[in-house]
Subunit: 198 residues, 2 copies
């Protein structure tokens, strides 16, 4: 009775902090967000934040790696659930559009922040696991003959580049309708750009 006056589990506390942090970082950016802001929004005291995370950078790092991991699992599901490069890559674009619509902050933080400015020890995002997986799908398509025998970076950039620009445009507010309405037309352009001639 003396100790357990608060019913929050440690995991719950951490999750509250990470959730508030995601909101704040995507709204105002890392440097415009103070640890005090995080404490206020998450209803967790500064002391507790520093107890659970080494420092402010530690909060950002935990969040970043958590989101990368989630995204990696999603992409692994896509890989398992489809057999051809064509179907896999299309499913990837559909999933990315879906996440953009359902959790725009997640997409914003993953694809659209300059992590190196506040996480100097992380690899650039395009070297991170999800992007590696996306390129692997393209590589398999080249091997199987579905995709033209292009340089891997060229093929990946052309296949995913259009979709990624649609995502950033949507996050910037210059596309008003849901991205899901554009899946078909974007995909048919993207695939045509690199598909082997039958």
């Amino acid at each position: 009775m003396t100790k357990a006056n608060v019913r929050k589990s440690p995991e719950q506390t951490q999750q509250q902090v990470l959730s508030a942090t995601l909101q704040l970082f995507t709204q105002k950016g890392y440097f415009n967000t103070s640890v005090r802001d995080i404490a206020r929004e998450s209803q967790v005291s500064i002391g507790s934040i520093y107890h659970h995370f080494k420092d402010k950078e530690g909060v950002a790092s935990a969040m970043y790696n958590g989101l990368l991991e989630r995204m990696t699992e999603t992409l692994e599901d896509v890989q398992r659930g489809n057999s051809s490069a064509h179907d896999r890559c299309r499913a990837v674009i559909e999933i990315l559009f879906k996440v953009t619509e359902d959790e725009p902050q997640v997409m914003e933080f993953m694809m659209y922040s300059k992590h190196r400015e506040f996480l100097p020890d992380e690899k650039p995002i395009c070297s991170a696991q999800p992007f590696v997986l996306m390129r692997e799908m393209v590589a398999q398509g080249i091997e199987s003959g579905e995709i033209q025998d292009l340089d891997l970076m060229v093929a990946s950039s052309c296949l995913y580049g259009g979709a990624i620009r649609m995502i950033t445009s949507r996050l910037d507010g210059i596309i008003e309708k849901s991205l899901l309405e554009y899946v078909d037309s974007v995909w048919s352009c993207s695939w045509r750009s690199i598909a082997a001639n039958k």
Copy 2:
């Protein structure tokens, strides 16, 4: 003799500041760069910097708008120097690759920083003049029948998206060769993705 003890023109002083600022912002980011840093690197005192620019944000703003203007002029040249959408858009991609190779900091600052975090009053970059021009070229191509009758955002994203990803990958160091070696293959993919069927 009493007044003119320094032979620098005001324009030169401003240019020194802007040049040092571009280096610092692309190396360390806006928030990791202090006005003291700018003063040291540009050999201009803090007082003079605040005399010429309203504040730190003013320095960033002057630099950003200057670069946007330069880029706009370049694209207007491209527009005048070519007649078909095909030739114009190809020339745009070639110019963007060239700038990336010759002045990577310019490209980095223009396309790859989160301006809204430190220039909250600026429009998102994809609404800025150079991007508008790029989309206009696509719109003309749709009108003339060179390009399929797609949604303008879809067509622009697919046409330029591959090239833009090549640029960011190059800036991130995951492409080692000069982008100029990739112009032909990127362009043939990009154009194929949206070209009308003859």
